[in-house]
Every structure is written in structure tokens, then in C-alpha cells.
């Protein structure tokens, strides 16, 4: 099978690393060759972060380059816009509608772009936009936003739902399992804008 490329992008601290581990473990249970490239260190401190997940019969490079991603899962609108050039022609982008001002915007040195979602759609890109933060809050904590988004992604991938649920149960701490399962279900049930 040809290698598939997924990017998980967001703001450092949003839980993108756990999301990429969940995805990696779910794919592994289907016996794919899997590579996951993570970001550690300074870039994690509230900066723009990206994790690459690749799978197929044999994966070589662990990173995804411009124009190569089959799917981008974005935790924040501006990050969806930032990483869009990595999307393959015909690829899909799933984004959380949450907006987080980067420091240059907070300071008034730059403006947060308006109508990012419309602009992406205008390019003919397959876009799924969801309010994952509300789902996470509904599930019990804003911290579950990553698992809510995994739920949305699960709907857009070819793995059985049970694989995802088993992987979540095996990956997240037991005391947060119920909340994360709820967040996953809310994400899975959503249709997107």
C-alpha cells in the first residue's frame, strides 16, 4: 500500500502529541508500518507545533513535506491556514474552529486573519470545521479537545470505530478514560460545518 501522510498541527500545549500517539497506535494495531515524528523542547512552549504521522506497507521518511499530506488535523484556525501548503491536491483538512491569538496579534503588531475557513474553501479544499472545544467542555474538560478531534478524524478515515476506542482505552490514564470516551463520541458524531 502506498504511504499515507497525516499532519497534526496546533499550538504548543494543546495536546497534539497525545493525538499523534493515539493515531500511531491505532494504525499500528492494523499492522501498518508506521512512523510518527514529534516535536519536543522550545517549540512546544505555546508556539506553532506540527507532528507527522505516516503509514503504509513501508514508510521511509518520517516527515511530511509541502504538498504531500493526505489529511491535516488542525487544532486551531490560524494553524490550519499556516500549514495548508502541506496539503496534497485533493487532500482533506479538518480544523477546530477555536482561535488563539499569537503574541504578535496580542501586541497589535499583526492582525488575526478574518474568514480563514471561507478562504480555505474558496481554494477548493475539502474542509471539515468543528467546534471541538465545546465538545471537550461538554465531555468534562477543555483538555479533551485532542480526543474530540481524533473522533472527528476517525469519521474521515478507514479504521473501524472499535480500533479507535480500544486505542484510547490503552493510551489515556484510567481516571480520564470516561471523559475522553465521551469527547471521542461527540467528535465522531459531529458532521462539521
Amino acid at each position: 500500500m502506498e504511504t499515507k501522510s497525516i499532519m497534526i498541527v496546533g499550538v504548543g500545549g494543546q495536546g497534539t502529541l497525545l493525538a499523534s500517539r493515539l493515531l500511531g497506535n491505532a494504525l499500528l494495531s492494523k499492522n501498518y508500518d508506521v512512523k510518527v515524528s514529534e516535536v519536543h523542547g522550545m517549540s512546544q512552549r505555546g508556539g506553532s507545533v506540527v507532528t507527522y504521522v505516516k503509514y503504509g506497507s513501508k514508510v521511509a521518511s518520517p516527515i511530511v513535506a509541502l504538498g504531500e499530506a493526505d489529511l491535516i488535523l488542525s487544532f486551531e484556525q490560524l494553524e490550519a491556514a499556516r500549514w495548508l501548503p502541506y496539503l496534497k491536491k485533493g487532500g482533506t483538512i479538518i480544523t477546530n474552529t477555536q482561535k488563539m491569538d499569537p503574541m504578535p496579534v496580542v501586541m497589535g503588531a499583526a492582525e488575526y486573519p478574518h474568514d480563514i475557513l471561507d478562504a480555505i474553501r474558496a481554494k477548493g479544499v475539502n474542509l471539515v470545521a468543528v467546534d471541538a472545544l465545546s465538545m471537550a467542555v461538554q465531555a468534562g474538560s477543555a483538555k479533551a479537545v485532542n480526543v474530540a478531534l481524533i473522533g472527528v478524524m476517525a469519521r474521515n478515515m478507514d479504521l473501524e470505530k472499535q480500533v479507535w476506542k480500544d486505542t484510547i482505552a490503552a493510551t489515556v490514564p484510567a481516571k480520564f478514560l470516561e471523559m475522553n470516551e465521551k469527547a471521542f463520541e461527540l467528535g465522531y458524531a459531529s458532521q462539521g460545518e
Binding site: 504511504t3 504548543g12 500545549g13 500511531g24 497506535n25 499500528l28 508500518d33 508506521v34 512512523k35 510518527v36 515524528s37 514529534e38 516535536v39 519536543h40 523542547g41 522550545m42 517549540s43 512546544q44 512552549r45 505555546g46 508556539g47 506553532s48 514508510v59 521511509a60 521518511s61 518520517p62 516527515i63 513535506a65 509541502l66 504538498g67 504531500e68 490560524l78 494553524e79 491556514a81 499556516r82 495548508l84 501548503p85 502541506y86 496539503l87 496534497k88 491536491k89 488563539m100 499569537p102 503574541m103 504578535p104 496579534v105 496580542v106 501586541m107 497589535g108 503588531a109 499583526a110 492582525e111 486573519p113 480563514i116 478562504a119 480555505i120 481554494k123 472545544l133 477543555a142 479537545v145
Partner: protein, 577 residues
């Protein structure tokens, strides 16, 4: 055998375990930290966080000479600190196997420079292996111990960020217990004084020749002949990029050992190709070697000395192909990393901003104090340089003494700030040094250090008392402040700048991300009271922004530290419930 999805660093640790390694001593540094963190989970391996990389390598060498397989790992700039024992360990050799890992950071994801540590292997005449994925990380770590004992030398492993921090499948094996090698006193080998070292140097040069011979037929130096006229010579992650970009369109010479290099193997491989590319990030290390042995290769003239390679770059240069991309016609503001919401460093930097001082900075999370809107770091060079460069600044012009400070984290201070502070006391400059004591090594992801009172296992350990240490070395003005108290910080630092002797200010509050730190509910903005003056935005908190001309607090980020309330003259920021 069981397979696991491991990052390269975890796979290295697994290799240490399976190879019967007994002693690990390292200082944390991205992208190397997880090797030692993971190794600490194996009860068969004694692990420790050392105060710095020099101590780590010396501890590992001591263990290897005593007869235990030993390891020390570090980031590229850490190897500079450990360079002193590194060079002479090449002369003494080992007793039981010793492996030194260095993780380079092309693209500088979390580093202050982009050095290519392969030069150290050549300069210190130490064999260096470079894996390209996690399975190779494990395999090469084990092989490195075998080679170390075969050639009586420490062997280096070199990783780059994408290998260290990428997960791929690793087949697990069992641990092979290696008995302690008996220690036999041998002063000709282990006491490096001029007369003895001259004799050892002969052995070093002979060893490199023997290793070159080994490299010609080594199983980790592999040729993949796809019947192409184009050849590619590569090592490490560049091999994976090349495989993805070029597949079977080219022939490959993959070098698992990047020092010493196999002359005949390279010549033989290149002889059958019309065109040979060398694919290597950073410096033309392989390329220059190829040229010295008369092999005409294409390298840096079409690639780059800076940043990371990718399959896209290789595809473009070698095949002239590029995939189309989509981008938006709008300005996308950058999102640089920032001090976290509730970070104790923020309040201290705000006090420094009020005092309008020059700040000699250091390596850690607090380097982010350089970013706007705080903008309160003037220099950042290397671990410990804040303290010594402040001393130099004050010697250059004593007028600087009342308007300059150094800031350094607790772990960095232990690493290499102490000797600099001794210089301030001994050679007397009226300097004000601020230790940002957040009770953890922060940037690398929360490692214990000699000030925290815990060891790598989280067990109680002797803690350095910074106040007593200062007194012991002759610094008698020692003040402790809470960085959440803006006025207190400003007043104390002003007093210490004015004092006519050196001072140590300890800004003490644990990192807001530590699990044991209890957070308050998020603060709230009383929109009736908020006049939109933006005063609270001056501290650069990522939880604070402006919405509809009023301050707005992001409840997902705010930890209720209350620093912003001290800036609001209208009482508009109130405690949440």
C-alpha cells in the same frame, strides 16, 4: 519477538538495556533527553542526571574503566562541554564498553546553534555510528558496545532530531548480562602524562587504521544497486529522505559508520555511477572526504549548509520534480513560542523591564523573555555564559554594574553558572546575578537536578542550598523573591543593583506546569471596569488578548497566577470561581 513503536531515543535506551549496560550518566538536552529518561525505567541500569555533560562523560568513563558497560548522552552543544574528557578518552581507551551519544539539531528546533558534531569524531579520533530509524538506533547502540570493546575505545553514536524524535517499529530482544570486566591497574594506559600519552597516541592512530579496514566490509555500510547511473552516498535521516524521494531510481551507499570512512568502498561504489550525490545535512563532512580520495561528488553546491533536508528538497534537486501546493492570499502572523501562562519567569522579567536594565541571558525556558513584549534579554550564548558575561561587562565599564543583571535557571546555574559566580566573588565585580529557581529543569521537559531534592528516580536526594552556596564562595548579599510579586521583585533588584558588593537574587517559584503545583481558577475580566488600556498585555501572557476593545482571558490557558491583576489600575481583572 514483540515490536513497539519507539522514538529513536527510546530505542537507544532499549539498546543499552539489551547490551547489558550498567551505568548511565547524562545531562538533559533536546533532542537527547529521552534516552536517559527511558533507560532509568530499567532497574538493571543505574542512571543519573549529572550536573553537566563533562561530569556525565567522566562518570561513564570511570565506570567503563572500572569494568562496567557505560553510557553518556547529550545534545550537540553539550558535547562542547564534554570535549575535554572526550579527547583524552580516545587515548586511555576503556575496559568494558563505553558509548557516547550526541544528538545534533539541524534546523535548530530547540538549540542556539547548528553545529555538526561529526567533526568531533574525526578530531578526537573516535569511531562514530549514525542510525537512520529507531530499529537502527537499537541495533547500533548494541553494536557500538561490541566495537568499543573490540577496538578498546569509546564509540560515539550520532543522532539528528528527526531520528531522535521519530517513532518507528522496533523489535525487542532480551538483555544480555555482561559481567563486570576485572579492573587491572595499568598506568601506561590510564594515566595520561606526556611520556605515556605519546605512546598511547601511536595506539590511537593504529586503531583508526584498523577501524578503516573494518569499515570497508562492515555490515552497516551497505550498497543498494538498482542498476542506475546515479549514485547517492548518505547516512542517517538523509537515507530515509532519499529513499522516499528517489526510491529505486538511484543506487545507494548508506554509511552506518560516518567515522572513519571506507575509502575503497566509496571509490568502488562511485566507479559504477556517472553522477554521485552526497546527501548530508549541515557540513560537507562526507563530501570533503570523498573529494580527498579522488571521488567526484555533487553536494553542497546544489544543496545547503543550513537547516534540514527533506524528501522534497532531494526530489527537486536530483529529479527536478515538485508537488503542487495550495496557499492562501493572506498574511499569516507567526506564532513564536512564548512563556507559558502562569510561568514564574514572567513577573521577574516584567520587574527587569521596569528597571530598564541590560540582561545577560542564558539557556532555558527563560530565554523566551527575549521575545516581545517583554524583550528583556540582551545576550544568550551558552550554558552559564550569563554570569560570566555579566562579570566581563562590568569589568569593561564599572558603570554597567548598577544597570546590568544576569538571569540563569536553577539547573543551568548548577551546570556551569557556579564557576562563573566564583569568578565574580574572587575577581570582584559588583554584579547582580538572578537565579530563576523554578525547582526543575524546564525546557527539556521536567528533569530533576541537584537543586530539586530528588534524583532521576524521584527519590529524595541531597539538594544544593543556593543561599549557603553563595555565602560559602563569598557572596554575602543573598535575597529571595517571589516572582509573582511584581513590586517586591522590582524593589529588591533595585536595592541589589545599588549595593556596593556582588549580590545573588533567587527568584523562587515552581514551574506552573509541575503536577504538584495547584492552580487557581482562571481570572475573569469585569468588562464594566475594563477601559481597554491594554496595560495587562504588557506582560506577554498567552492567556490574555483583546476582544471588542476589552481585555479577554482564555480560560483554557489561565492558571489564575494573578500577575496581570497587579498591572490593572481599574481593578478590572478579578478572581474567577
Amino acid at each position: 519477538m514483540e515490536k513497539q513503536l519507539l522514538i529513536g531515543n527510546e530505542a537507544i535506551a532499549r539498546g543499552l538495556y539489551e547490551a547489558g549496560c550498567r551505568v548511565v550518566s547524562s545531562y538533559p538536552g533536546t533532542p537527547s533527553t529521552e534516552v536517559t529518561e527511558t533507560a532509568a525505567a530499567y532497574p538493571e541500569i543505574y542512571c543519573e542526571w549529572s550536573p553537566n555533560e563533562k561530569v556525565g562523560v567522566e562518570t561513564a568513563l570511570g565506570a567503563a574503566i572500572a569494568g562496567a558497560r557505560a553510557f553518556s548522552g547529550m545534545k550537540h552543544v553539550g558535547l562542547n562541554v564534554a570535549a575535554d574528557p572526550l579527547f583524552t578518552s580516545s587515548y586511555t581507551g576503556i575496559n568494558a564498553g563505553m558509548v557516547i551519544l550526541v544528538a545534533d539539531d539541524p534546523g535548530m528546533h530547540s538549540s542556539q546553534n547548528e553545529q555538526d558534531s561529526r567533526h568531533y569524531a574525526k578530531a578526537a579520533k573516535l569511531m562514530m555510528l549514525e542510525p537512520s530509524d529507531s530499529q537502527e538506533c537499537k541495533d547500533y547502540a548494541k553494536l557500538a558496545f561490541t566495537l568499543s570493546e573490540q577496538f578498546d575505545t569509546p564509540v560515539m553514536l550520532r543522532l539528528t532530531t528527526r531520528v531522535a524524535h521519530s517513532r518507528s517499529l522496533v523489535e525487542l530482544g532480551d538483555r544480555e548480562e555482561v559481567a563486570l570486566h576485572p579492573y587491572v591497574k595499568d598506568t601506561d594506559k590510564y594515566v595520561m602524562m606526556p611520556g605515556r600519552a605519546k605512546k598511547r597516541h601511536v595506539i590511537v592512530e593504529n586503531r583508526v587504521e584498523a577501524q578503516k579496514h573494518w569499515a570497508e566490509t562492515a555490515s552497516i555500510n551497505t550498497v543498494e544497486d538498482n542498476g542506475s547511473k546515479i549514485g547517492v552516498i548518505c547516512a542517517g535521516i538523509s537515507y530515509q529522505y532519499a529513499q522516499e524521494a528517489l526510491g529505486d531510481k538511484v543506487n545507494y551507499l548508506k554509511l552506518g559508520c560516518v567515522y572513519p570512512l571506507p575509502e575503497k568502498l566509496i571509490q568502488g561504489f562511485s566507479h559504477h555511477c556517472e553522477k554521485v550525490y552526497v546527501l548530508e545535512q549541515l557540513d560537507p563532512f562526507l563530501e570533503e572526504y570523498c573529494k580527498t580520495i579522488g571521488v567526484d561528488v555533487i553536494g553542497k553546491e546544489v544543496f545547503t549548509l543550513q537547516g534540514e533536508y527533506s524528501q522534497r528538497l532531494i526530489r527537486k534537486v536530483v529529479l527536478g520534480e515538485e508537488y503542487p501546493t495550495t496557499s492562501l492570499d493572506m498574511a499569516i502572523p507567526p506564532r513564536p513560542p512564548v512563556l507559558c501562562a502562569g510561568c514564574p519567569h514572567r513577573g521577574l522579567f516584567y520587574a527587569l523591564k521596569r528597571l530598564k536594565v541590560t540582561v545577560c541571558g542564558d539557556i532555558g525556558c527563560y530565554t523566551l523573555g527575549a521575545s516581545a513584549p517583554l524583550g528583556m534579554i540582551d545576550t544568550c550564548i551558552c550554558m552559564g555564559a550569563s554570569v560570566s558575561s555579566l562579570h566581563g561587562r562590568n569589568k569593561a565599564n564599572p558603570e554597567n554594574e548598577t544597570k546590568s543583571v544576569a538571569v540563569i535557571g536553577d539547573s543551568t546555574f548548577i551546570h556551569s553558572g557556579i564557576t562563573s559566580l566564583i569568578d565574580i566573588a574572587y575577581n570582584h565585580s559588583n554584579s547582580t546575578v538572578i537565579v530563576l529557581d523554578n525547582s526543575i529543569t524546564g525546557m527539556t521537559g521536567h528533569q530533576e537536578n541537584p537543586t530539586t531534592g530528588k534524583n532521576i528516580y524521584g527519590d529524595p536526594a541531597t539538594a544544593v542550598n543556593l543561599e549557603a552556596l553563595a555565602h560559602a564562595i563569598g557572596i554575602h548579599r543573598v535575597r529571595v523573591v517571589d516572582p509573582y510579586q511584581l513590586k517586591e521583585c522590582e524593589d529588591v533588584i533595585r536595592e541589589e543593583l545599588a549595593a556596593e558588593e556582588p549580590s545573588l537574587v533567587i527568584s523562587r517559584r515552581p514551574c506552573a506546569l509541575l503536577k504538584y503545583v495547584k492552580h487557581n481558577p482562571p481570572m475573569k475580566v469585569d468588562t464594566d471596569k475594563c477601559v481597554g488600556c491594554k496595560m495587562c498585555q504588557k506582560i506577554g501572557c498567552p492567556a490574555l488578548s483583546i476582544r471588542d476593545k476589552k481585555s479577554c482571558i482564555d480560560f483554557t490557558q489561565c492558571v489564575g497566577c494573578g500577575v496581570c491583576t497587579q498591572l490593572c489600575k481599574f481593578g478590572a481583572i478579578v478572581e474567577g470561581k
